[in-house]
Symmetry: C2
């Protein structure tokens, strides 16, 4: 280009042609375009988008009255209730940051988070009160200032205590439903803070910004083809990556949020039928639960339901079972650091004619980047050199683009390490198939190294899942004097089934290379986190002790 | 907030967590995820996304070899051919700006545009050669440097001349299909330049940027609920607001582009059937054409086809006719300055049970802002005070947000005027209904002021369209000594129909207030622009002359 660029002359950003990307606009639009459409269903409670918008404005106004503003943290610990949905809008409407806390953490972890996040407000709920009460005591013991505690007093739970001085309804009643809330001054401003459920060490605070929340909310609708007015069931915890950004997605498409306090198969199946739920998300364990429900509960679903699953590769048998039930399962993959899913196992029509088993295996691959993510690769963890796309070479999964976190709160060193080389380091190990689809083989720390050979624990699990009598399985490394490590399988059988350790080992010998066969099999109920992930750090301890 | 904002400490933009928004990433993704899916169909030509991507890279590489780079203009004038689609990617891949020229302009206008845009390259096609040849002569006459002329030599048209030294195929053959193209350094960088087909005065060059093109491409898919792999027929000219950004949308959903040189009902209906087209866009005149086709051509469409229409409010009779044919019509509204549509007549389920006529009237309203547009209002043109939402008070339509142009090229004064007060001034007059839907009543200059009363020409047109013997109608002001202006109707009857001026006037007296009844009725074929808009400036002249 020889002359000055004519396209940069008097063509800058002005209020008419530039707006910060933020999911907050979706709420205002849903309320103005579909004021009478149902926004939230929770038991007897049904609120329209107009009503929900007014309550969000009241929450924002009430927070503002208490001096909460840009950069302040508002924590919430509660199930998937309407108030939790409202907090996703009311809190950022004053520039504050929503910190949604895992409801199954212990008191010490909750106290750590409140302290680290410098929470000025804590919204809690009666069912959470035992843990929250203890967490607040821990802060008091340390002479730390306590947040203002607001209690959601929800009639769908009996028991527990109100811990604070004000209920949620009292608090927002003081707020102005016409409050003049503000868009973020900058789309890079923080919108939420999610602590990763680390298996060891202190949790890390993952910060999201308005731009990323907007783009991932849209990405969900785009990659799932969600129509306006879809009905979404809250089987996925809202504390999990802000429910993968779905509170903002449902506002974008002016859909309906069907709340759910407890993830129980009977409740899920009943709501799917009564509310005509057509979309839901959850870990594979949620799908297994639904499959395990009584036939009567499973009968009578006559509309199509789309299910997004992540957290672990769903066993082929689970995908197959759900499809037979009439559910359309899509596997997605992501991490807290990527706003939840940013990789989707996109389906190709040319696979339609393959066998059920072959299709389930294709669906069990994590897939390709979503449209709005910029980059995805499997590469050498040190050199960042992409691995061969041969479906065999194991490398680490890297992402980059707008659907990657702002960084870790007050943790510059870990942030820099996570972003080293211009890519986000996921810590997950995978192969890259010739067609560009990524398939996870393990977390770095879940790889079993036996006699110098890398063994994927997931590969062994997948094989065991195909055994008709095995319902649940996890494989970890067991220290071994001779081999360094050997695979140890923890197995839960289907009700009434009978299987011995030797029979399991014999089955493995038939279906995998000799060096991969577990040397030890233990029959147990698997310990899982609140988000459905198997707690392998517990199993590793058990494996050490297993004789 | 009392202390420093903890959410802005070491949480800035780095390559891992920030990427410029640009539609270019959609092409690369479509090619890598769906390499074998058909991207482009044109007669016998069928190219996959992998092939199309390689050709775009070749085009970019070849342009780069000629020294074309950031801020340079590459003009193209050609029908909806594969090469036109490729230019939407290959040109911005080197940072250059695509200027797609209206194929129905006269030579002087084309010359004006080439000169004003400072085009360094002109891609043309044999069918365009008579006009382009003249336009180039006009530049030569003015001793201006000529752009490098590249000829598309497409076998689907016989005749015309090759004007340049190199064909498109020769040109890209020199390019590297593995070319390392670059994302824009800044998402605010220009991606395209579209001249408005002004009815008087010089055309204005509307500049789009990568961010807006990305967001509107996504917005199209989101507001239309387009699934991955949709099949899109190019009935809408690509030169019209870059085909409303649909080249980028189709890449985002990895769909299929079905090209179309001439908009003819038989071709459209035949392709809908043979290629299983499920989405198309066009002015209402395109829909009228399809409705007017022979029954045999209309028969045999067994799949659902979605149609987006804009450019003028489609007459209720046309919406109704298309629905009876099995097409699902959505009206959208926008301007060149808003990347095409940014307002959608979003449908509500509660309207399903209304009469066909009532539904058609609801669909004829322009609607509400799309999810990704920030603001829409009807307001006083001077004070920018929003009008009452009473469905009666007329005001001007204003938009603001990311789906508003960067500005007018080399036209600071007009840019400032268009953006005055923080909103884009559309120049269109509308009412705002109580439910928030906008309904256009007229362009500012199309309002007829008769005896001090404002008369909406569109209202008269709508009434006349409901007459069973009237196929096409436009109403303009005719100067009148007594009343200042009076309505003058230009009417085209359906084939074989017979109707007198007095009969039309009598019909109007039955259906509208006396002062609105046209004082003059003229039977003609309406003059239209290449985009289907009635050329009212011509009619105004005819009205002056009509006795």
């Amino acid at each position: 280009m020889s002359e000055a660029n004519i396209y940069n002359q008097h063509l800058g950003q002005v209020p008419a042609n530039y707006a910060a990307l933020s999911p907050l606009t979706f709420l205002e639009r849903a309320a103005s375009v579909f004021p009478n459409r149902t926004a939230v269903v929770h038991g007897e409670v049904r609120r329209t988008w107009a009503e929900t918008y007014r309550r969000c404005c009241q929450l924002a106004s009430a927070l503002s009255q208490r001096g909460i503003g840009v950069g302040d943290t508002v924590s919430i610990i509660c199930p998937n209730l309407p108030e939790h949905f409202e907090a996703h809008f009311g809190v950022p409407m004053v520039g504050a940051v929503l910190n949604s806390i895992n409801t199954r953490l212990d008191a010490a972890s909750v106290a750590f988070i409140l302290r680290h996040a410098e929470a000025k407000i804590l919204i809690t709920e009666r069912e959470m009160s035992p843990i929250v009460n203890k967490a607040l005591s821990l802060l008091e013991d340390d002479k730390l200032p306590l947040p203002l505690v607001i209690d959601i007093d929800d009639p769908s739970f009996s028991g527990g205590a109100l811990l604070g001085d004000v209920t949620y309804e009292q608090f927002i009643a003081a707020g102005d439903p016409e409050f003049a809330w503000q868009m973020p001054a900058n789309e890079w401003d923080a919108i939420s803070l999610n602590y990763t459920s680390g298996t060891t060490g202190d949790p890390k605070g993952v910060v999201y910004h308005h731009r990323g929340a907007h783009l991932n909310a849209v990405s969900n609708a785009l990659s799932w083809g969600m129509p306006s007015g879809a009905v979404y069931l809250w089987t996925l915890p809202m504390f999990h990556c802000n429910g993968w950004c779905f509170p903002w997605t449902i506002a974008a498409i002016a859909g309906t949020n069907v709340c759910l306090r407890h993830v129980r198969a009977d409740l899920i199946l009943s709501l799917v039928k009564s509310e005509k739920v057509d979309h839901l998300c959850g870990a594979p364990i949620v799908l297994s639960m639904m499959l395990g429900a009584e036939d009567e509960q499973k009968a009578g679903i006559e509309h199509k339901v789309k299910v997004m699953t992540a957290g672990a590769p769903p066993p082929a048998a689970v995908i197959q079972g759900m499809e037979e039930l009439g559910f359309d399962v899509t596997q997605v993959y992501g991490l807290t650091e990527t706003y939840g899913p940013c990789v989707v196992s996109e389906w190709k029509h040319e696979w339609d004619d393959q066998s059920v088993e072959a299709r389930a295996r294709l669906k069990a691959r994590q897939g390709v980047r979503v449209q709005l993510q910029d980059g995805l690769m499997v590469a050498d963890p040190v050199t960042l050199e992409p691995v061969e796309r041969d479906g065999e070479t194991i490398g680490e999964i890297f992402m980059r683009g707008n659907i990657v976190m702002k960084g870790y709160l007050k943790n510059a060193k870990t942030t820099d390490a996570a972003f080293a080389g211009g890519w986000f380091h996921s810590g997950d190990l995978a192969v890259w198939h010739p067609d560009g689809y990524v398939e996870i083989k393990d977390r770095s720390k879940d790889i079993i190294i036996s006699g110098g050979e890398n063994i994927s624990s997931i590969e062994i699990e997948d094989t065991l899942y195909r055994h008709p009598l095995i319902q649940d399985v996890a494989v970890v490394a067991k220290p071994d004097e001779k081999w360094g490590e050997v695979p140890c399988a923890f197995v839960n059988l289907v009700d009434g089934a009978n299987l011995t350790e030797n029979e399991v080992i014999a089955y493995c010998r038939e279906h995998m290379a000799r060096f991969k066969v577990p040397k030890k099999v233990v029959f147990v109920n698997l310990p899982r986190t609140s988000t459905g992930k198997v707690q392998k750090f517990i199993l590793r301890q058990w494996a050490v002790d297993a004789k």
